[in-house]
Symmetry: C2
Subunit: 256 residues, 2 copies
């Protein structure tokens, strides 16, 4: 089974590496940036190109792992292939392929990727969608060879999952940043917060977050809340977030 | 060295257990609820009482681990002791002791505690404050026997740290809950999010959150943001949080 990787970023690198380690042959790497294509091809022990017309016609799977904005344009420029063409984007519908290929789909690894951090791919959910059942079956085989958590979902569900990830990952990191700034303003080290951050994430590996909400808002502890609001008077950005989230927690717990 | 524990909740239980394991003698447990006092005393292999006038006069350390609201009242009712009296509250000033005792202070273990979850106390920061340098020295010995991360800070810093914890723990769990609800509405399992939540927390164990912000807001990816806002139209609670945090991330990244 031959795989062509289109793209050279974090997702392209991780998926390429995983498939190589799983025993697949990466037949080619394409990137519009030839240096990046070369670097990733060298890592994956394969050929590279930056010419869209030189893409290997005979691969079984084409993985488009470029930025969301670039998918549509790339799809339009690609020739037709017999193999399955997938994109890896959480927020892009399968309809972006517009029936251009015979076999196409979505292969979305659901995780946050950063250069320089190893991730255990086996536990990363992969969300699949395909243009036909035969393609879905083949994608299932590919996905199961690198992950234990393969699910099928439609484009609307995948988008909802992506939004959920914005809350649980991007916005969570934003809260960490607000905490970091507050500590800096009081000459305190962010390191003090790290065990708490770990434990907070660890707790919901076992429990549902709704069941383990703690803090002054869920207790409706007005005395503490007011003293926090007072101390945050000089931190308007923090204050806006504190007020909104506290109000929401109080209002929902009072509905119970 | 003898320790009296006042209170019978999570913090009382955890600190009592840690000190017992570290070789200290817990001479007594007091709680206004005699059943709770008895249960904790049995765990800590010691005496119990619910009578404030029967509290052991000769202990070296009195740990007040009752709810924040109850500290002031309890302090007012206590007799005078020679040992050091500490409370364990993040958001309560040392001034609540009002010079009532000869030796007093704050012994604040900085972590989120839930019944039924074991925590490795050694890595939990303990923040100390004391009425005099001799007491601080003794508290340091106690604290270092159960934790590797002992720091001294004043009441204002401790309160800032507590607010930072509200952001990094309570509000973060709130975001997890919002994500959970969104997934439920689309018939998706929260389990899909768990690896992402872990990785997000894991990443800031190594890096500073400001450096590892990801997502559509930091890229100012208007297309994705607008499509998320549209999908969230039926989720007003989510929408309010999405808008506020996205605006803040965009506005700060544009200032750079």
């Amino acid at each position: 089974m031959n795989i062509v990787i289109l793209g050279s970023g974090n997702v392209a690198t991780l998926l390429g590496t995983c498939f190589l380690n799983a025993g697949y042959n990466i037949s080619q790497v394409w990137s519009r940036n030839v240096q990046h294509a070369e670097a990733l091809a060298s890592l994956l022990r394969t050929q590279f190109t930056d010419d869209i017309h030189s893409i290997d016609q005979s691969a079984d799977l084409y993985i488009i792992a470029v930025s969301d904005d670039a998918i549509e344009d790339l799809v339009a420029k690609l020739g037709s292939f017999k193999g399955i063409v997938v994109h890896t984007s959480g927020s892009t519908s399968i309809e972006i392929f517009n029936n251009k290929f015979e076999n196409y789909g979505v292969f979305y690894p659901f995780q946050t990727f950063s250069k320089g951090r190893d991730v255990d791919f086996k536990i990363i959910p992969i969300l699949l969608e395909a243009s036909n059942s035969k393609s879905l079956e083949i994608l299932n085989v590919f996905a199961n060879s690198i992950s234990n958590r393969v699910r099928v979902c439609n484009s609307e569900q995948r988008k909802a999952l992506h939004i959920a990830a914005v809350f649980a990952c991007n916005f969570t990191n934003r809260l960490y940043t607000l905490a970091q700034k507050l500590l800096e303003d009081y000459q305190l080290d962010f390191d003090l917060l790290r065990p708490l951050i770990s434990e907070t994430a660890q707790k919901v590996q076992e429990f549902m977050p709704k069941e383990v909400q703690t803090g002054p808002a869920i207790r409706n502890d007005e005395k503490i809340i007011n003293s926090h609001l007072k101390q945050l008077e000089t931190h308007q950005t923090h204050l806006a977030v504190y007020k909104l989230l506290t109000e929401q927690i109080i209002s929902e717990s009072s509905k119970k």
